[in-house]
């Protein structure tokens, strides 16, 4: 982190996933969030958080990528004022909004156009067909999300989509990929559900099945690479990379190294899905949390990883998902329970 470069590059970027409100117009069945009681800090408090982020970036000589999310960010009364503020900051290099897409209209798109650093809007789709998406996200919400995506594309935004793989939608993956191509979505990600928080009882997909699903997605990604970019840089994908120079497939999770999640009341988590509070941005601050959290230090030392992950040849490009490990075993250092690799000695 004592990086002396002043130009942006992937080595000097830090990612903040900021769930700046928890209010939402939907109640998706897989959502980790359990509490949707309206909670959004007053604008001055949001600016206090933003300033703490900028202070940390300045100190570390890093640039910040921020995802503004919730809850549903387009329900916030402060979203545009917050964007005004963040967009002006030299230390912030990229802003994304993660949304369910159902509230986007022309007026919103026009307002969003002025933000130079808003370089991606992610709309969640949990199905490639109406009935599958709506089974998770509620009736009528597929059409609304697609309308939202079309509007964003009309205004030339870069649009991505996240498909969270569950038992409900695992057979709709090809439809989702076709839909994404048809709707000119720029990037898509398909990632397994983490059974945490409110979704702790979500049926987990077996490692054999995850293997089959990931393999199919990987084949599609290669076959369709001229039509759509399918992101495969989170844990487990490394098992499918062709060789160690393949940097499109696989990636060590940045938890503990270059990312933090901030909840609507300032609680800090290593990652939104690794639901172990490590501090609060108001009372502890970023530095104290980042430097003194035992959990973060445990995760930073790859030698601490247990089971199959410990000796794995793919560890530098994977490391397993610490959130899935914690959700399923109560041990954030355990091997990733959904990994299909044989143990290596």
């Amino acid at each position: 982190m004592e990086n002396k470069q002043n130009k942006r590059n992937s080595a000097n970027e830090f990612y903040f996933q900021w769930h700046f409100l928890n209010y939402c117009n939907l109640r998706c069945s897989h959502c980790y969030q359990g509490d949707y009681n309206f909670f959004e800090l007053p604008f001055e408090k949001l600016i206090e958080i933003a300033n703490k982020i900028i202070e940390a970036l300045n100190k570390w000589n890093m640039f910040g990528r921020i995802s503004l999310t919730g809850g549903e960010p387009f329900m916030s009364k402060s979203l545009f004022a917050l964007l005004d503020y963040l967009d002006k900051q030299d230390r912030i290099c990229s802003i994304h909004i993660l949304t369910n897409g159902t509230l986007i209209d022309d007026e919103i798109c026009k307002k969003l156009l002025k933000y130079n650093k808003l370089d991606e809007i992610q709309v969640s789709l949990d199905g490639g067909t109406q009935h599958v998406h709506d089974a998770t996200r509620g009736e009528g919400n597929f059409d609304k999300a697609i309308d939202g995506i079309r509007l964003l594309k009309k205004y030339n935004f870069k649009v991505s989509s996240m498909f969270t793989i569950t038992n409900k939608n695992k057979n709709d993956i090809f439809n989702f990929i076709s839909l994404a191509i048809k709707e000119n979505i720029d990037y898509i990600s398909l990632e397994r559900v983490t059974p945490c928080g409110h979704s702790a009882n979500e049926d987990i997909i077996s490692s054999d099945e995850i293997h089959r699903i990931y393999e199919q997605i990987n084949l599609e990604a290669e076959k369709l690479s001229n039509e759509i970019a399918i992101r495969r840089t989170r844990p487990l994908w490394a098992n499918l990379s062709k060789n160690s120079f393949d940097n499109k497939v696989g990636g060590f999770c940045p938890v503990g190294f270059t990312c933090l999640a901030i909840l609507c009341d300032g609680t800090l988590l290593p990652c939104r899905r690794l639901e172990i509070p490590i501090g609060n941005i108001f009372t502890d601050g970023i530095f104290k949390t980042w430097y003194s959290s035992k959990i973060l230090w445990d995760i930073r030392d790859k030698n601490n990883l247990k089971g199959k992950c410990h000796n794995c040849k793919n560890i530098s490009k994977c490391g397993g998902c610490r959130a899935v490990a914690f959700a399923l075993t109560n041990d954030y250092l355990a091997e990733d329970p959904q990994c299909w690799m044989e143990e290596q000695f």
Partner: protein, 97 residues
């Protein structure tokens, strides 16, 4: 001026961390972080507010293969830099005790 009788203490806001042969001092208050080597890490670790610099030099010569005089020169230089950076503080000794 520091000498062998000086007693120093690590700033309460500073955490010392070693992971995978990388050594750091991290200030949780102002966010400053300093890269260290094993020797400077041990020098800070020993700044416990109780033992003086001569005691620490004796201790460290048991671990590192180095002449006492050389180590003392190094430690005095390093501690004065660390003092300036507020990584450590001088402990006042009540001369009447």
């Amino acid at each position: 001026m520091l000498d062998g009788r000086t007693i120093l203490k690590l700033n309460d806001d500073v955490i010392l961390k070693s992971v995978n042969n990388s050594f750091r001092a991290l200030n949780v208050n102002d966010g400053n972080q300093y890269r260290l080597n094993l020797v400077s890490f041990k020098m800070l670790e020993n700044a416990d507010g109780k033992r003086n610099i001569d005691d620490i030099v004796n201790e460290l010569t048991k671990i590192f293969d180095v002449e006492k005089t050389t180590l003392k020169d190094d430690i005095l230089l390093f501690y004065s830099e660390a003092l300036q950076k507020k990584i450590i503080f001088l402990v006042e000794i009540d001369e009447n005790n």
